[in-house]
Symmetry: D2
Subunit: 359 residues, 4 copies
């Protein structure tokens, strides 16, 4: 049983490789009657586009989103609405340079899935990582954009931003400024230091990790104990992003050093005091803001020489060429938002199913 | 769509509340022919039994495991074998004191799911948390014990131990000693400090958090990209344990401060150098040891007075009585092992399905 | 991936064998707040009880239903309500005679699953068919009884009756009389002939097949094209009953001889004229009555001598002893109702999930 | 929870409407290393192409199949192989005449899903039935063609043919001749009578129903009791085809008139005598040939005048124009084969998962 579908009620199946025809997603379970604005969806796609500056590679992939099914423009309206049938989304590849990967045909790149993919499948599309490429996340962002238009109906929105990059941590959190710098960083001063750090590491031929925080306004009641608790599904979705090595909710790993009396969020008639729980209690959203953080590893494709082996298990030295990003941040930001949105819309629709009229 | 099933090939559905008839699990998809030794399964149950010392409450729940279906003793053998049909497991409650919870009928306990359960379901079994109680994890451990007997066939085993408790962190890791102290701690000196810290906090009427690490020997090839990556499913399973607030794989949150050249594990003809990846590359086990850590929050039931509200949303002061553990550690240790085993056995069987003979 | 779960929103997992501890079901996804009346549920169980007359065997299995979880009696109420958590149902075996099956240990009974179960699992519980026994359907009826209490909220009910048995076909359909004869037959005269036919065949040591019709009042809009069309799921559920060899909807196999102009049900302002469609159009209920028929094969356990082989593939003559029914009718009647109810309640809850407020 | 995915191990999700951009399917779970020959796949597509004669409409849809992902041509080979990642298949529409459907905007066609789709979704793509069009089955045939290449590895093949059309029934069954007439009919004389009947009914402006039989050579052991029995899943798959109103296995509805001693297939050292069971015992393939029949209703789009209502529920007379087939036969033949293949490949892969090495 392969694992290319996310969600149970709002089910997203993605397909495609970095250097094939394209990538795409089929959404099954989107409610009917939702307005899908093609311009809005395309704007969401554009947020993860590379080539916007120093931390991203100069490749230009337009990521033109096409909606192949599941919509219909009702008579007298301007924008398409969903019909309740599967929504097929495709982004065709336009700028693939398979040749630049030919040197990797027989070598396993450290930190990449080359070696594990071959162990699993016995066959490997070596061109740029194939299915394991970050290119695959374009399909997630496309599906997440549709999810966003559904979530708007329930007043749910999601926001991701950078709280650490290359050792630079934010010291203040002003969400007003996150669109003023290319790291979606809520601390303008920290953003400048991140910029300098990126430049420094680029010259070293190396790459950088960081931490992304995602917040969501969410009504109480979402999440399906005991295994599909909201935090469990959020962790599942976020940890399925290639670069993510850790997920924490609310106080996260800090709870290890806390007393129960410190960690418990007091409840008052006006709401919770504090948010160590991160907006989720016993697997169900409490109405408090959902707060999650993910650890983003440095991109494994570096210009420095590395030790590895070839298909014959002989030691080789490898130096990955091509144009690569210095960090998965900021391009991972809309991907994190997409995975949180896909999780929330799935749970919104799963919850609906038990909002059944009782006596 | 409720969420009380874990796994897709080895599917475990749990049922039961803390103060009802009991708890149990039905396993669908266990391979036939596996020897299930009732004594072995019961020994696994006994590992999470409370009443073994200071960090655990004095309640004595025997947790007697009963196997209701799915097994058969072949002629001439002593032990039952699985038949490939559903395995129904039950642990009937024997020591429930519903009365001690009557004072909680109208009050939401801070840090507990009382308030979110009511928001979701509109009805609440207030007796000891109902389904949200740690009692539910007995069913996980039972299913995990069956999983362990399947995993033995593939040479996979899993071990969990405490690396931090109440601010005390291990400074050495000697897995030989983890059964010599009641925290399953691989550092004997740290275990003594943990003991002292637990005593201190018990007198304060407070509770403690900590960190558990889980390791697994696992062959290469398990995990189902792109959404059911092995780390994503492990995170899902572990984060579905009530007390867990964070999960990290390999270097985990430390990757935020690392360079790509530091984080990449070099590959040599003899294997990987280092294990920042935690045994998983691109969502598929690499053959390196799997290493995961989870953040365990302090138990929310404390003896200290706390602020909360009642069903009428009026401010109240609450003091949770009854006998409670000081920390989810060590009882969470076998639960963590169970969730990792359930994840691995599921992926072992899911992977089997594509080990299909090709031309 | 085993297949012991039915439904996607109202998910029923059954367990148990004919001669083990018992049989049971876990329901995950039942809406909260539904009154479950234990006496009502038990009455449903009693409808499939054997020993009620000539077509059924004289074994007396009380089929005492126990509800192990998922319910709670709210203060001031008399009957339990569902809490939205898993409902565990168990029926423990009381009258199993394993010894009478010992002669079958090495022989495959014709018409039974002995040979195919062994081919699949490599291990077989030979006692009375194990999991393949009709005993398993007790768990379905239990779950169907819960489904019935949910469906009542939506005004949906289901009724099954016998339209043919042993070659005797009904010539009139008066649903008022179906509880006046033990075949649930809507034609009193035909019921008498069925009785005579059963007596005749009993003396021959043989068994009889028949046809059951199931009708349901159902609102328009249930069913999930294109693969989970309502008729497809109904066929799935009904064909999963051991004795069923055919399923037809509305005009069924008669459509083969019809013209389009005959088969199309005209639509009028007052509703449909005719019901060749059987209440379903393009996979979605139309609001017209749902009408399904199933072909029920003769019970394969006959007293006559039959040719078969043993485990060594040697020819043997077999004569199945023990007490067996002459026909799966009437005991299959409540099982058919249960499967239709489980299908409808699942689709009711699946449909709810897209009844999402749009702009 | 929508229902556009078929299968659990070999999961096919289809998308697309009759008059949109096209139709397609994403297959998740296809084993890696399978050779996919584009010419073979296209030949399969061509079998369901319309415009081949009298019983089919003169529309020419080339149904050009495109494989968008999941394949890779290994160095030194000529044909692509599957990589174990999702296979995205698309068939773009080229010959859509939306305008001819404008007159249907406000009218419900009898026998079609117009009225039930609107009841369910509250929005309707009226152009040619949208998702409910037979056009959707092109995606099934495409996925079925991939399934066929997988099944070849296990020696499984499937064949469908016409046994009745418009009241003309076959009297002999010679599978050698089924490609010699356009009805895939195994009785040459009957095929001529069918031809005459089609011509007659065409002149009447009416349409015809029939019966298709499907046979499959299949090893013993496939099927997943108790709910996913092989016959239950086959019935599910076949009944999900729009025109199918009944499914029967082996002796099918004839069992209603049979004695147990007649219906039981005797077992001999050489195999089964007779095949009333249709190759399946207790839900698991027995090794005997699988035999299924489906009842195919007359196409509801007829040229004759019919009574119906419009959106305002006013009585109207409707006469469906456009070019339509006289019968779903023969175009439904490859669709039936596809659904049986998709069911068998899914169960082949599901079964693999429990063929796990035991002690």
């Amino acid at each position: 049983m392969a694992g290319n579908t996310f969600g149970k009620a709002f089910r997203v199946t993605t397909w495609g490789e970095s250097h094939g025809t394209g990538v795409g997603a089929v959404i099954d379970g989107c409610p009917p009657g939702i307005v899908l604005d093609p311009a809005f969806l395309q704007a969401e796609m554009d947020r993860r586009r590379p080539g916007q500056g120093g931390a991203s590679s100069p490749r230009k992939e337009p990521d033109q989103l096409e909606i192949l099914s599941g919509i219909f423009i009702p008579e007298g309206e301007d924008l398409p609405r969903t019909t309740g049938t599967p929504i097929s989304l495709a982004i065709y590849n336009k700028d693939a340079h398979s040749k630049s990967y030919d040197t990797l045909r027989d070598i396993f790149r450290p930190g990449h899935g080359d070696i594990s993919y071959l162990a699993k499948y016995g066959i490997r599309d070596h061109r740029g990582g194939g299915r394991a490429s970050a290119r695959e996340t374009a399909a997630r962002v496309a599906a997440g954009a549709v999810a966003r238009q559904v979530l708007e109906q329930a007043g749910i929105d999601v926001l991701a931003y950078t709280v650490a990059l290359g050792g630079v941590k934010i010291t203040e959190k002003n969400l007003e400024v996150i669109n003023d710098n290319r790291f979606f960083c809520p601390d303008a001063a920290a953003a400048e230091k991140m910029e300098a750090r990126v430049d420094e590491v680029r010259r070293m031929g190396d790459t950088l990790g960081g931490i992304v925080e995602i917040v969501a306004d969410c009504p109480a009641g979402l999440g399906e104990p005991v295994f599909d608790k909201l935090e469990a599904e959020l962790a599942h979705g976020l940890m399925s992003i290639g670069a993510v090595k850790g997920v924490e909710i609310g106080a996260g790993f800090k709870v290890a050093d806390m007393l129960g009396s410190e960690n418990n969020d007091a409840i008052t008639p006006e709401g919770f005091e504090g948010n160590n729980a991160g907006g989720i209690l016993a697997g169900i959203s409490s109405g408090n803001e959902i707060v999650i953080r993910v650890a983003v590893k440095p991109i494994p494709s570096i210009s420095k020489k590395q030790q590895s082996v070839n298909l014959a298990n002989e030691a080789v030295t490898i130096q990955v060429g091509g144009r690569h990003d210095i960090s998965a941040i900021p391009r991972i930001i809309p991907v994190c938002e997409a995975m949180v949105r896909l999780t929330l819309v799935d749970h919104l629709l799963r919850h609906m199913s038990i909002a059944f009229p009782t006596e």
